[in-house]
Symmetry: C2
Subunit: 453 residues, 2 copies
């Protein structure tokens, strides 16, 4: 008989709570500041753009936060998601390492993003909101919120970073299929978009710009709120459903990870898998290595500053203490659009600064090569973002081949690449190259950081 490769939890094992790492931080997070006063922001001030329940979660230090039953009902469509042992990949790499991956591509939008889109739509719905504005990079988040809006009867407006809007027309079609409106950003529909276009008519956009546009739209109307697909505490909180499941599945497999790997753009898929383990390690000790993988062309954790910065380009959002490349920095147009963000989740930044998370970066070609190797062995074509995690996992497994160590590697395969086949077509056709960010642009962006306490 063959060895098990898939660890599938019964529906009864769908988590009832999310895990909040704020309860276990050795040093608390620095406060979020109001963009105008630069004083710690209040719940009332945040209520202009977020529903109350989300703000409570953003500020909570409770360890466990209950997942509402209507959210669990939608989660049940694809959760618990499977955890796989990558036996064919191990064999192809001829490594003694044991490689496991948690696979979030089984969600209806094809990534981990619905884990937070569903609760965010739910909380908005029960508080009477009619419309949500948001931004999207690669389109995973916009697709997920479009889906969630369709389930809960909310109107969704998505500002999609222009370079991705053009690279991924089918992501737009996906959002429109679910009834959402999808606008290329920077656009002429907002003051912040028009300001960018006046200065840079050919701007390919960035998450920072798209966030400005969405926040502006949300602040304009009482019936409209804003939703963010990564970075913030409540988003990372919602994603912990993946790590909680993974702990149980790894236990089923009788395995304990030596390292946990995820790609980081805003930080949420990495945190979702890592934080339940990291929190346990903070409470009880342990020696799991937590590896956050980012693109070399947008090296927030590896080359950024740990400082207060805005989440967006037009400086409409609150100020967060985080690793940042400067809110005016526009990363080059590489294919992992979901990783093209100047900042990083404050929780991930804080824990990286404290030395609990080890960041590293890779170029896009080596990531696509890893993705192809993974696909041939495991049968799943990863999203370009997820290829960064795959690359790190393969590198670690290759180190084990050299050293003879049988380490246990657990990584997050955050989504499939079905909507990214143009990137694979370009890669297979030899048309992709590694992109380099302009160091002078980052220096300039960092020079413009707000001077805060």
């Amino acid at each position: 008989m063959s060895d098990t490769v898939k660890y599938q939890l019964d529906e009864e094992h769908l988590p009832k709570h999310w895990y909040n790492i704020n309860a276990d931080l050795p040093v608390p997070l620095d406060p979020v500041l109001h963009p105008g006063t630069q004083q710690p922001i209040t719940a009332d001030e945040l209520a202009v753009i977020f529903p109350r329940a989300v703000i409570e979660q953003e500020m909570s230090t409770e360890r466990e936060i209950a997942i509402p039953e209507p959210v669990r009902e939608v989660y049940r469509q694809w959760r618990p998601s499977p955890l796989f042992r990558a036996r064919r990949l191990e064999k192809a790499l001829n490594t003694p390492a044991k490689i496991y991956y948690k696979y979030e591509g089984v969600s209806p939008a094809g990534s981990h993003k619905p884990n937070t889109a569903i609760p965010q739509a739910f909380y908005n719905k029960i508080e009477g909101v009619k419309r949500i504005a948001t931004e999207t990079g690669a389109g995973q988040w916009g697709s997920s919120l479009a889906l969630a809006g369709s389930f809960f009867g909310l109107e969704i407006v998505v500002y999609m970073v222009k370079v991705s809007f053009n690279q991924k027309p089918y992501r737009r079609a996906f959002m429109e299929t679910f009834g959402a409106q999808c606008i290329a950003s920077p656009s002429t529909t907002t003051a912040s978009g028009r300001a960018i276009l006046a200065e840079h008519p050919d701007s390919t956009g960035s998450l920072g710009i798209a966030i400005s546009e969405a926040v502006e739209v949300a602040a304009q109307r009482d019936d409209t709120k804003y939703a963010l697909g990564s970075v913030l505490n409540h988003v990372l909180l919602h994603q912990t459903v993946t790590g909680i499941e993974a702990m149980e599945q790894m236990a089923m497999a009788g395995a304990h990870p030596d390292m946990i790997i995820g790609c980081t753009g805003g930080g949420s898929n990495f945190a979702g898998l890592a934080f339940p383990y990291l929190g346990k390690q903070l409470r009880e000790g342990g020696n799991i290595e937590f590896i956050a993988v980012e693109p070399s062309a947008c090296p927030t954790l590896t080359k950024g500053l740990f400082a207060y910065d805005f989440g967006d380009t037009a400086h409409l959002t609150p100020l967060c203490k985080m690793f940042t490349l400067g809110s005016s920095f526009v990363p080059p147009g590489f294919h992992a659009g979901g990783l093209r963000y100047h900042g990083m989740a404050p929780q991930v930044s804080h824990l990286a600064k404290l030395g609990y998370i080890a960041p590293r970066s890779y170029n896009q070609l080596e990531c696509f090569a890893a993705g192809l190797q993974f696909a041939k062995a495991e049968g799943i074509i990863p999203a370009p973002e997820a290829n960064h995690a795959v690359r790190a996992a393969i590198e670690e497994a290759e180190k084990c081949r050299e050293s003879g160590e049988a380490k246990t590697i657990l990584f997050m395969l955050s989504g499939h690449g079905n909507f990214d086949m143009q990137a694979y077509t370009d890669y297979l056709g030899g048309k992709l190259k590694d992109l380099v960010y302009a160091e002078s642009e980052v220096a300039m962006a960092l020079a413009g950081l707000p001077s805060v306490g």
Copy 2:
């Protein structure tokens, strides 16, 4: 607490056998004939293009055929696949009907096709075959065989119907990602391709032509065999893994279907879900209605003749008794490329002829409208082929709304539409229209049927 919407079987419930309806047919199938002699074909004659194990299955009348353990090991990656209750769709339709669907889009290729690609690759591998040639319409089958080839270390050559090759470049990229070679058909690489191009230089291709090219390539080299993704008995046999699972899942749900619906191109996804139920009904009685849904622009079961015909255009394949529009008929280029076939599985044809299967047809616009309605409610964008089944399920649920009957509808959602977003883009943009086949072409094709027995 909410009602269950997903019925997920444990891994231990992965079927150990496929179900062979040949064991339960009230009248046996007419024999398959050699294309030259027009005499019943022998196993030795078929061995030129198929491995022995597959030929045995093709001819078997055993009710249960064991699934080899290495095949079950690969199946376990995504099987048992989920069965869902479409509660949100029921609510949107305001129907008393109970709608269930078996979802095969969870497979790594996104459809039911790997259910047969995996065993076919396995049987070829253990018999020493190095290379498999095949055809593909929409690309689902080619993708699945590419995947299976990658798992078992076989070279794969795919002839892809030209209209789909052009409509779906990402399906080609998918196949190439797994190392397969993908060629637009008709091509200049085969005598049958060149003959078609000489007569029709602008030919958009058809499954019949692509089959000719692949069979020709397989017959040329000893180390090369041919694989078919639908139509034949062994393919339908492999697909019954879905129906066997569904029977157990419907029992979990405490539900018994009043009707079972699937789309039909070659007939395999429909048969996979329907045959385990239909076989039971043939043995023990029952009153489930079996509804096969085809495109109005390629109406094999509803407008074809039940006669001996070739499976391909160049007349290289054996002759099967089946519903056919004539092997020289080239259907118009509608988006459900997987349903563009002139013939129909002999087993499905035979049972339709005997009155056990009720066929119906729909146009593409009404199918896309149904797909959109389904997506908005259930969160899954169906493949254009699967939209035909969705359309029928919605129509039946609407009839229940009129009559007040709470019928139980079970349909096969054979695949997702992630690679078909151009079709949805065209539909949403108002650029799609219903296509009509030329009745004169069908008349001519039928006039050219071989005169057999």
